[in-house]
Every structure is written in structure tokens, then in C-alpha cells.
């Protein structure tokens, strides 16, 4: 027995344990350290048999205490486990789980983005005498055991673009996708494309991928995880975490840490606990399907048993999706159900072909949609009485039936008839003109002698064209509270452009908060839009009773939420209503900056989805007006982050049905919503001084190590990146929105 080697291994194990438990004082860790030291000190004086005996007992002690420590793991320890360089990486998984693989999309540092690893792999199954090689596309973030160029698995936008490209390839080749999520978050750079822009694209495309996708979460940090994590089955490693934000980020926000400072460790531990980021929590909340058990203190490269069970799980999961949507499946589904209960059974013995036919692909999409729609239903409050709920459900149903008959059934035929009538009419017109020409000439001759053209003409030209009230005559329905103060407001660009100070009643009244000299847009209340963009008295709010709550029981958040509700007189940060613009009916979902920074949680997401559904059923255009959003509400944890794929799926369904989805950004819009359901719209517009991006300046400096360039998030930069489609002036909002409603969007709108 090679004593030295064993001692070395024990030392490594101790080092790993010390890394995991970090700076915390733990008796067990101290004990292990002391015992190991004792043994190494005593070793030279012992004979061989004694050496082996003591070593074995120490190894037993290690195994025993490791199990004990495993039970003591705090959420933050789990974070340290998944980030440890010895943690299994995607390359290890490719080598040990799959039977053969070819890395595509770059090799090591010679890659568009080395932190995103893509491989075509196959799993070999032997059923009876037949051997089947079943191809899959493996996509995932690679940390490479601490290789610097891997960037810690923090994927740049172009890395996500690469992932999307190969997902499309998989869809074309009709093979399943296995996505391994192992990222602390996306790299917040705004280049071409921007981080938010690309993640939104990814989520939007994944919502419609027509092949089975399974995602295995090891480290799932917000946007970066969502970029490849929208899957039919979501598995999670038992020591992994899946969260709306990294605990460090949450601590920085909670503790109001300024850039450059470090958040205190206790606060970080606390945040990690409160955010409910562990696999168990996520399973109980329903955001993942199964947990894959890891060895004690997390899987490392040497745990070969773990790779075998991982292999079983991914095969199982893929089979399950396929059998769920395919026709002939009864016995095999039963068998797989049995296997899920007792994982010892070998999954490879049952053969399921991993290719899907046309109808099955449609079913797959529908199941995926339903799965996500069912998530996070518990995380908000619907205060409607039962009677009202029934009534609204009935109304919804009525609208669906009505729209079907009116638009899909009746209008199609009506158009044919009216087209024919137009043609016939035009034909007759030509004939009539020809026949009546002599008579008309005669009439002209007579009328010249009889008429008094002078008086008639003068009358026509100097009299009033039909008197109609002009828009400027309308009483302004809304006066901003800022416009009631007698004060002069300085434009922030005064030094650059030499803008004169403006009087607040002018600025916030007539000029809609726009500096008349340089065009800088001051923030306005959301009420201004409600009253000035839409026809007066046409606003009808719905789902106003849906209320944001504190689903995770986050400490101290109840009070803050109550405060926000009281201050704004709202129940959530999202207002949804129907309104008209020049008579065109529109469904509007508004994110309001005053309510917890316009953050999106379960209630907001659900309201948004219901607005989308309403627009889809009624064939109305949909306007998402972002008065301002700071991202996903971190206090709701995964309940918040799951709104990214949920809302995007609803939007995709609406767009595929031929809708018109228009997004308008005002003030500052960052993070989650921009990186999903807002950013995926083909028609996004921003006002001049708005800022659109993925992460705030502090986070950018922290993660990239470089100060943020000036105007990094400005609307014009976003326009140059191709994120948004235009920059609008707030004073012309009504005109521009109306113009957009007329010109852009799909075929299936009620007025087309």
C-alpha cells in the first residue's frame, strides 16, 4: 500500500473541505485537520502494519465526518461547491456519460466563446443483439476546472448566439438537446449583440424548438441559466443551485453596497438562505422535475459512480419526453415509470427512438407551453371572488369562440365576396363612363352658362372646412404633480448643449418632460401616458385584483411590499388595460417604475401573460409599455426568474398567431424582462433618454473589471446594436404608436 499517496489524497480531501466551508469555524473540519497532522507527524515512527491501521481508521473518520458535514451544508456552501475547480465540468461529463463525442463550435481557447461548449455526442444502447447509437446535441457552459479563458462559465452574448445556432442545427437534424447549465450568470457586455438582446433571442427561439430539450442544472445563475435552460425536463444536481441572482449580487443589492466594496459574508449567507436556491427548494417550488443525487460534498472528477447515475437519468429523461408525445408508448412508459422509482434498473435496456414526427413535435411544443404556464401559480394572490372568476372565464371562452367565427371563419369568405364585388364594380364603371361621356359633356356646356362659379368658389375656399375639435383644444386630463411647482429645472445637458433652464409647469405640462433645446427626456409619471397616449375615457383596466406577495417568505420583504402598494395605490408593478388610440383597440401591459423599481415577480408575469392571452383571443394588438424596470424581483427568487421563459412563451404563441407586439421603453430598463419577453419583440422602441441594458454600471465594473464606457446603455447605443428599432420622442408618442399599429405586425389583427 502506498502510504504517501493515500496521505496525499487525504490532504487533498481536507483542502477541498476547507475550501467548501470557507472562513467558517467548524469543529469537524478542525478535528480532521488536527488528526491528519497528528498522523503525518507520527508516521515515521510507526511500523508498516500500524501505519496502515491508523491510515484506515483516519480514512473511516474522514468518510464519517464528510457525511456529517454534508448534512450541515448551508446554501452558500453549495454555491462554493459548484464553483470549486474540482467540481465536475462539462468535458468530464462528455467523457464519462456519453459514449463518443466531437466538440464543435471551437476548441479550448480557439473559440468564439470558450465558456460555451458544444458537442455532438452519442449514447450507445444495446437492446438484444442490436446496437443503437443515439445522437444528441450537448450544449453547456464549461468552467474547465479553473482555466482562465473559460471565464468561470460566464458566457458572453456571442457564446449564447453560438448555442442558439447549434440548437437550430439540432432542430434541423431532429436530435434531442442536452443542456448543462453551469454558469454564475451571463457576462454583462453590451456589444453586438448585447447580453440582454441575445438572451431574449435564445429564450424566444427555445420556446419554439421542435426537439426534446432536457436541462441539467448545476449552477443556474439567472439570465445566463435561462439562455439555455428552457427545457421539457429540468433536472438538477443535488448540490447545485438555481437562482434569480448570485448570492453575492443579492447581498450587494440588499446591503446597498457601492461599487468596489465587498458585501459582508454573513449577509451573503443570509441572502443565499432566503433566496431558496438549493435543489430541494426548487423541487418543492416546482421549477425542476427531479434531483440527481451526488456523492457527499458534491461530485468531483473521480466519482465514476455518479457519472453512471447521471447517464441513467439523462437517458431516462429523454425517453420520458419522447414517450409522452408519441403514439405507441404504453408498455415502455410503464417501464420507465418503474425505473424512475428504482434507479437501479438499467434504463438502457428499453429502446426508444429519439426522433419525432410532425404531429409529435406539435404536441411537444404544446406540452412545454402548458408545463411552464402551470409554474409559479402559487406565488401571487388572485383576490377575485369566485363568481367573478367564473364570469371572466366564461367571457374568455366567449371571446375565443367569437373570434374564431368572426375572423377565422366568416372573414375569410367575406373577403372573397368583397374582392369579387370590387372587381365587378370596377368593370361596370368603365362601361358606364364610356356610355355617359356625351351626356356629361352636354351638362358641362349648360352649367357654364347657368352657374355662378365666382360666388360658389369663393364661398368654398374662404369658409370653414368642417369644424372639428383639434387635439390641442382638448383639456389636458392629467397634470403631473411636477408641473404644479413654481421652479426652474436645469437640463443635465446644459453644460454640453447650453440648454436654458425651463419652468417646471411648461416642462412637465406642455413639453411632456422634454427639454426643448436638446431633447433630453425627464422622467414622467406613468399616468401621463395613460392620459395622453390613449383616447380619453377609453382605458379599461383588467386583472387589477392580482396582487404581488412574498412567496418565499423573504425576511423583511412583506413590509417593503406593503409600503410599495400603499405608496402607489397598486397591487403589483404591472397594470394591464384595454384602451383605444384613434379608435384602434389595444391591450396594454405597463411596467411601473414606482412599484419596487418596476421589478417583475410572479404576479406581474401572470398579469402580463393574461394580457397577452387576451390580446390573442380578441385579435388586438399588444403594447408593452415599460415605464421602467430594474429586472426580476430578486426577493421572489426562482418564482421571479421563471417569468422570463413563461412570458416569452406566451408572447411567442401570440406572435405566431399573427399578432402585433410593440414594446416601448421609457426611463431605465434593465436585466430580466429586457432579456426575455420585452427584448424578444420584433418591434421595440425607446424614448431618447431611456437606458436599455442587461446589468447596471456597478455590476459591469465588478464582473468585467473595467469601468463602464459613457452612454453604454443609451437608447442610441441600443439602436446601433440592433436591439431596438427606433428612438421616439415622448411628445409624439401617440402619433408614433398609432402609426406603428397601422404599419407593422402580423396578419391576424381585428382591423386588418
Amino acid at each position: 500500500m502506498d502510504i504517501e499517496k493515500n496521505i496525499f489524497e487525504l490532504r487533498e480531501r481536507l483542502k477541498y473541505i476547507q475550501d467548501i466551508f470557507g472562513f467558517k469555524e467548524n469543529d469537524n473540519v478542525v478535528l480532521l485537520g488536527a488528526k491528519l497532522q497528528e498522523l503525518t507527524d507520527a508516521l515515521p515512527g510507526l511500523d508498516a502494519a500500524e501505519q496502515v491501521r491508523q491510515l484506515t481508521s483516519l480514512e473511516d473518520l474522514f468518510a464519517f465526518l464528510e457525511k456529517k458535514l454534508e448534512r450541515q451544508l448551508s446554501p452558500m456552501d453549495r454555491v462554493r461547491i459548484v464553483r470549486h475547480p474540482q467540481r465536475i465540468s462539462l468535458k468530464d461529463i462528455l467523457e464519462h456519460v456519453y459514449d463518443n463525442f466531437t466538440e464543435i463550435g471551437g476548441q479550448d481557447e480557439y473559440s468564439v466563446d470558450p465558456s460555451m461548449l458544444i458537442a455532438r455526442a452519442y449514447i450507445t444502447r444495446k437492446v438484444g443483439n442490436k446496437v443503437h447509437n443515439q445522437s444528441v446535441m450537448v450544449i453547456g457552459q464549461e468552467k474547465g476546472h479553473g482555466q482562465e479563458f473559460r471565464n468561470g462559465g460566464s458566457v458572453k452574448p456571442w457564446g449564447n448566439a453560438k448555442a442558439l445556432h447549434y440548437m437550430k442545427v439540432a432542430e434541423m437534424e431532429n436530435i434531442p438537446i442536452h443542456a448543462y447549465v453551469n454558469t454564475p450568470g451571463a457576462f454583462p457586455v453590451e456589444d453586438y449583440p448585447g447580453a440582454a438582446q441575445q438572451i431574449a433571442r435564445n429564450i424566444y427561439e427555445m420556446a419554439g424548438l421542435r426537439v426534446p430539450v432536457i436541462a441539467i442544472f448545476s449552477e443556474g445563475g439567472s439570465g445566463g441559466a435561462e439562455a439555455i435552460g428552457l427545457a421539457d425536463v429540468r433536472l438538477m444536481l443535488s448540490h447545485g443551485y438555481y437562482s434569480v441572482i448570485s448570492p453575492e449580487g443579492a447581498a450587494a443589492i440588499e446591503g446597498r453596497i457601492k461599487p468596489g466594496q465587498k458585501a459582508p459574508t454573513e449577509l451573503m449567507e443570509n441572502c443565499a438562505k432566503r433566496l431558496k436556491i438549493t435543489a430541494k427548494d426548487n423541487l418543492s417550488l416546482g421549477f425542476i422535475d427531479r434531483i440527481i443525487q451526488e456523492p457527499v460534498l458534491g461530485a468531483r472528477t473521480e466519482h465514476f459512480d455518479f457519472f453512471r447515475s447521471l447517464r441513467q437519468e439523462v437517458i431516462n429523461a429523454t425517453d420520458e419526453i419522447i414517450l409522452n408525445v408519441r403514439g405507441m408508448n404504453y408498455f415502455r412508459a410503464k417501464a420507465i415509470m418503474r425505473q424512475k422509482k428504482s434507479p437501479r434498473v438499467n434504463a438502457e435496456n428499453i429502446f426508444v427512438r429519439w426522433k419525432l414526427g410532425g404531429p409529435a413535435r406539435e404536441r411537444l411544443l404544446w406540452k412545454r407551453y402548458q408545463r411552464f404556464m402551470a409554474m409559479s401559480r402559487h406565488a401571487f394572490l388572485d383576490r377575485r371572488p369566485v363568481g367573478r372568476k367564473c364570469m371572466e372565464f366564461g367571457l374568455d371562452l366567449g371571446w375565443s369562440v367569437y373570434s374564431f367565427f368572426k375572423y377565422d371563419f366568416w372573414r375569410k369568405h367575406q373577403k372573397k365576396v368583397s374582392n369579387l364585388a370590387e372587381d365587378v364594380g370596377a368593370e361596370f364603371q368603365v362601361v358606364f363612363d364610356k356610355c355617359l361621356a356625351p351626356a356629361r359633356r352636354l351638362k358641362a356646356v349648360f352649367s357654364r352658362t347657368n352657374d355662378e362659379p365666382n360666388g360658389n368658389n369663393q364661398c368654398q375656399l374662404t369658409q370653414l372646412s368642417p369644424w372639428e375639435k383639434r387635439e390641442s383644444d382638448q383639456q389636458q386630463g392629467y397634470i403631473s404633480p411636477q408641473a404644479r411647482k413654481d421652479r426652474a429645472v436645469s437640463c443635465p445637458n446644459a453644460l454640453v448643449h447650453g440648454c436654458m433652464d425651463m419652468w417646471a409647469p411648461d416642462l412637465f405640462g406642455e413639453w411632456a418632460g422634454v427639454c426643448i433645446h436638446c431633447g433630453h427626456h425627464f422622467p414622467m409619471e406613468y399616468d401621463w401616458y395613460v392620459h395622453n397616449v390613449f383616447d380619453p375615457q377609453s382605458v379599461r383596466e383588467f386583472n387589477a385584483q392580482m396582487e404581488a406577495i412574498n412567496p418565499l417568505g423573504y425576511d423583511g420583504f412583506d413590509l417593503k411590499l406593503e409600503e410599495a402598494k400603499r405608496k402607489n395605490g397598486l397591487k403589483s408593478a404591472c397594470r394591464t388595460f384595454e384602451a383605444r388610440i384613434n379608435g384602434l383597440k389595444v391591450v396594454i401591459a405597463m411596467l411601473i417604475a414606482g412599484f419596487r423599481g418596476g421589478t417583475v415577480g410572479a404576479a406581474e408575469g401572470e398579469k402580463f401573460i393574461r394580457a397577452v392571452e387576451r390580446a390573442r383571443k380578441k385579435r388586438f394588438p399588444l403594447l408593452a409599455y415599460t415605464h421602467g424596470t430594474a429586472g426580476i424581483r430578486i426577493q421572489e427568487g426562482t418564482c421571479g426568474v421563471i417569468q422570463m421563459p413563461r412570458c416569452t412563451m406566451a408572447v411567442r404563441r401570440y406572435l405566431e398567431d399573427g399578432g402585433l407586439y410593440l414594446v416601448v421603453y421609457d426611463t431605465n430598463s434593465y436585466a430580466g424582462p429586457v432579456a426575455s419577453f420585452l427584448g424578444c419583440s420584433p418591434y421595440q422602441f425607446a424614448i431618447r433618454s431611456s437606458r436599455i441594458g442587461f446589468a447596471g454600471p456597478g455590476v459591469i465594473q465588478e464582473t468585467t473589471g473595467m469601468p463602464m464606457p459613457p452612454h453604454y446603455h443609451s437608447a442610441y447605443q441600443a439602436l446601433a446594436r440592433g436591439h431596438i428599432q427606433g428612438v421616439w420622442d415622448r411628445r409624439e408618442m401617440r402619433k408614433n404608436v398609432y402609426q406603428a399599429l397601422l404599419t407593422v405586425g402580423g396578419r391576424n389583427l381585428y382591423y386588418r
Binding site: L461, T462, M500
Partner: protein
């Protein structure tokens, strides 16, 4: 809550000639006043007059006449309670008027109420108001047109109308409704070319002004430019007029050079139409409209009269005008030696009643006002800048000169502001005498100076003299 007149303190938010006249009016009314001046204007007559008559504390140094914030802080510092915008600068700025009257320390704005300034400041709105009252306006559209077919129909009707009127070369103007200052205007002579011009202007407007509304109007040649002086009490009561003026002598940039009151002289000249009736109809229309909008304070209704005597309302100027003196010189009020419209304006603006009615106002003789400007009439009225060494004229009791140029020492014309030097008003019992006296006055005028290059001063005196000969003739 209006204080009695003597307790008020008036801030004069203007410069040059009008500031001088407002100071004089304040002195006449016994009113305290405060002046403002920029660094470039330190030598101007209004500064000197303010210093001489009211001392150091009546003059505040500011950096720009255009900055309302500065003007209001001067008002607060000096304790002014009323503000006179003069003409130009803030005179027709409804936002300034509103801010003056609605700020936490309100000031009386000597001029119409801000809503009136806003409503009449918009030419299209004015046209619509006028048409609602059956007041003739220039034939054409009264709202921005967005529809090509609609615009073409109007253009066709305009061509037909002009043909009926006997216009030899009918012309239709196509304008961008958001434009101004001569941008985005084109003439169309040929109905067939209308559409292409319309589209060109529409696209231009969309690019330049982001609003593709287009106006279509008749182009009128050889017209006379007439004005009606309206005076009203606060809150739109007791509206009277102070006669008409003819301002047809204009420079290339449509800047007036000579104004004559009254607008026509049917007693002296034979017109192709009934001139007296035209004058009466435009005064009546103007009074009508002023009553309808409840006009308060002083304003001018501008008309154009075609060669065959059709008057059309052009626009409304909601301020005192440069040429107010020429109306005053022919107006007579009982128990007043001479009429001064500026002191009337201040008086009414501070809430005093009018004290007379239309029947008390009578008119006598003809007045001619010359604007004496350092410019070169032969070279597109290019302004001349330099030092004035001598400026004098022979005093006559029928001539009045208003100027901010100091007469006893050389004066450097500031390059920052317009080169207007003086207004001279002559009066005669009839048009013939007024013209003769005008000629005499211009002959007696001495205006000498040099610029940096040593070139002699150029002025428009010769141009004014040439134009005096056929004043008021069509």
C-alpha cells in the same frame, strides 16, 4: 388683486427704442420702473436714460435678453410687480406670460392674457377662428392636409377661383404647416404639377419638421398690407380701435420700412375700389373677432388687401407694435393733448378702466413713420455695422423722433442686435402735406459714421425718400 397704479413697479424686459419709450411712459404715469441691459448694450440710450432718471438701482445687468429665468430673478430682486415685454423677445411668448402670471410671486404681464396669446399666436388657429366668424381669410386650407386628393381638390378650386377673379397668372402656394421663415414653401403655376410639388413639400416637411401636414393657399400678388390697432380693457371689456395703418413698404425680408396711418386715403387718391368701405369692413371684422376671443390689452389685426379690394385676414399680433406711434399721431382723444398708446397699454395692463369709448376717438390728418436703419437697400438690405459720429435733424413741431442712439457722442452699433437706429414720425393735415413734410424731414436728416474699414455709413434714407413719393397708391 390689483394694487393702485402708483404702488406698482414695472420691469422693462426689452432694449433700445421701445425701452426708451416705456421709460418715458412710466415717467408720464408716475410709475417706478426697472431696466435690464446686457454688457454689449451698456452705451445704449435706454441704459443712460434709466440711470439719469431713476439712478443706479433702476438698472440691472443681465447676460441675455432671451433668458426668462434671469428676467424673473431680476424681477424678484428688484421687487417689480409688473412686467412689460415691449416688442420682440418675450412679447408673443405665451409661456413667458403664463409663467409671469402663475408663478408663486406673480407679476402683472402688460399684454394680453397668456391663453389669448397662445390661441392667436398660431396662424392656423387664427384662420379657423376667423372663418368661424365669417371673416375673410386667404383662400385655401384652414388645417394641415395629409391627404393628397383632398389637397388637389383645394388646389384646383384655387386655380378656378383666381381665374374667375381675373388673375392672369394664377399661383397656388404649397407650405409645410410646421415650417416658418420661408422654409418649405413652393409656388405652383400649373395644376398638373401640383401633385409632384405637394409630395416634395410633404417629404421635406416630414424630414425637417417631423410633421407631414401641408397647407395650400392662394398666392396673392401686389397686395397692400393693412393693420387695425385694437385696444381693450382687462378681461376683454370695452374694445375699441385706433384706426388703420398701411405698411406696404417692406424690405425683401418682409420687414416694414414705412408705415402710414390711415390705411388708405380715399380723399386724396382714387382707388379702383371703395377704399372707405374696405377700411370700415376690416375694422369691424377685427373688432368682432377681438370681442369673440375676449381680447384684452393691445393688439394688431393684420390684413392684406388685393388690388381689386378684397381684404383677407393674415394674422394677429398680440403685442404693441413698432409702428404704434403713427396711429397715435393721427388719433385724438377728448381732454388729452396727445395720445400715447404705450402709456395706454401700461395703464390698461395694470387694470385701469379705458375711460372712453369708440365715439370719443377721432382721427385727424395723415401720419408717416420712417424706420431709419443702417443698411444698404441696394444690396438686399444688408445691415451696416460701425460707429455713428453724427446724428441730427431739424426740429419741427410736426415731426417726432424716437431713438436710443445718443446724440451728443459717438455710438457703436452693437452687432448682437438689429441695426434699427430711430423711428421718425411726421404728420400732415392730408396725404400731400404729410408726404411733403416727410421729404423735408428726410432732407434735414444728417447721419454720418464710419466702420472699422473706414467706409462711410450706409443708411436707407435715400430708399425712404424714393418710396415717399407714391405712398398709399396701389
Amino acid at each position: 388683486m390689483l394694487k393702485s397704479r402708483t404702488q406698482h413697479k414695472l420691469l422693462i424686459a426689452n432694449r433700445g427704442e421701445i425701452a426708451v419709450r416705456i421709460i418715458r411712459a412710466c415717467q408720464g404715469l408716475g410709475l417706478d420702473f426697472v431696466c435690464i441691459a446686457t454688457r454689449e448694450d451698456a452705451a445704449s440710450g435706454h441704459c443712460r436714460l434709466a440711470l439719469e432718471t431713476a439712478g443706479e438701482r433702476a438698472l440691472y445687468r443681465i447676460s441675455s435678453y432671451h433668458d426668462p429665468n434671469e428676467v424673473f430673478s431680476v424681477a424678484d430682486e428688484s421687487g417689480a410687480t409688473a412686467i412689460h415685454p415691449g416688442y420682440g423677445f418675450f412679447a408673443e411668448d405665451h409661456r413667458f406670460a403664463r409663467r409671469a402670471s402663475e408663478r408663486s410671486r406673480p407679476l402683472v404681464f402688460i399684454g394680453p392674457s397668456w391663453s389669448v396669446i397662445r390661441d392667436l399666436g398660431d396662424k392656423i388657429n387664427t384662420k379657423r377662428l376667423a372663418r368661424r366668424l365669417n371673416i375673410p381669410t386667404i383662400p385655401g386650407s384652414d388645417k394641415p392636409l395629409y391627404d393628397e386628393i383632398e389637397a388637389e381638390e383645394i388646389a384646383e378650386a384655387l386655380f378656378a377661383f383666381q381665374a374667375d377673379q381675373g388673375v392672369l397668372r394664377p399661383v397656388v402656394l404649397v407650405k409645410a404647416s410646421a415650417g416658418g421663415g420661408g422654409m418649405g414653401i413652393e409656388e405652383v403655376n400649373d395644376p398638373d404639377k401640383f401633385r409632384s410639388t405637394f409630395r416634395r413639400i410633404r417629404n421635406y416637411a416630414k424630414r425637417q419638421f417631423r410633421d407631414e401636414g401641408v397647407l395650400v393657399e392662394q398666392r396673392i400678388f401686389d397686395f397692400n398690407h393693412l393693420e387695425v390697432q385694437i385696444v381693450a380693457e382687462r378681461f376683454g371689456k370695452n374694445i375699441v380701435h385706433f384706426g388703420t395703418r398701411n405698411c406696404s413698404v417692406q424690405s425683401l425680408g418682409r420687414q416694414k420700412r414705412i408705415e402710414v396711418a390711415p390705411g388708405f386715403a380715399p380723399g386724396d387718391i382714387r382707388y379702383a375700389f371703395d377704399a372707405a368701405e374696405v377700411l370700415e369692413s376690416i375694422t369691424n371684422h377685427s373688432l368682432n373677432m377681438a370681442q369673440e376671443v375676449r381680447y384684452d390689452n393691445m393688439g394688431t389685426w393684420e390684413w392684406i388687401v388685393t388690388p381689386n379690394g378684397n381684404p383677407f385676414l393674415l394674422e394677429v399680433n398680440t403685442r404693441i407694435q413698432v409702428e404704434n406711434g403713427v396711429s397715435a399721431v393721427i388719433s385724438r382723444l377728448p381732454k388729452k393733448p396727445c395720445v400715447d398708446l404705450i402709456s395706454e397699454q401700461i395703464r390698461l395692463g395694470l387694470g385701469q378702466p379705458l375711460g372712453y369709448d369708440q365715439a370719443d376717438i377721432s382721427f385727424d390728418g395723415v401720419g408717416i413713420e420712417y424706420r431709419i436703419i443702417a443698411e444698404n437697400p441696394d444690396n438686399k438690405f444688408a445691415p451696416w455695422v460701425g460707429r455713428i459720429d453724427r446724428f441730427s435733424w431739424t426740429d419741427k413741431d410736426w415731426a417726432r423722433v424716437y431713438t436710443h442712439v445718443p446724440l451728443d457722442r459717438p455710438y457703436e452699433i452693437p452687432t448682437e442686435y438689429d441695426p434699427n437706429l430711430a423711428l421718425a414720425i411726421v404728420w400732415g393735415r392730408d396725404l400731400r402735406e404729410a408726404r411733403e413734410r416727410g421729404g423735408m424731414f428726410l432732407d434735414s436728416l444728417v447721419l454720418e459714421g464710419r466702420n472699422l474699414a473706414g467706409d462711410p455709413l450706409q443708411s436707407n434714407i435715400s430708399y425712404l425718400r424714393a418710396k415717399t413719393v407714391d405712398l398709399l397708391m396701389f
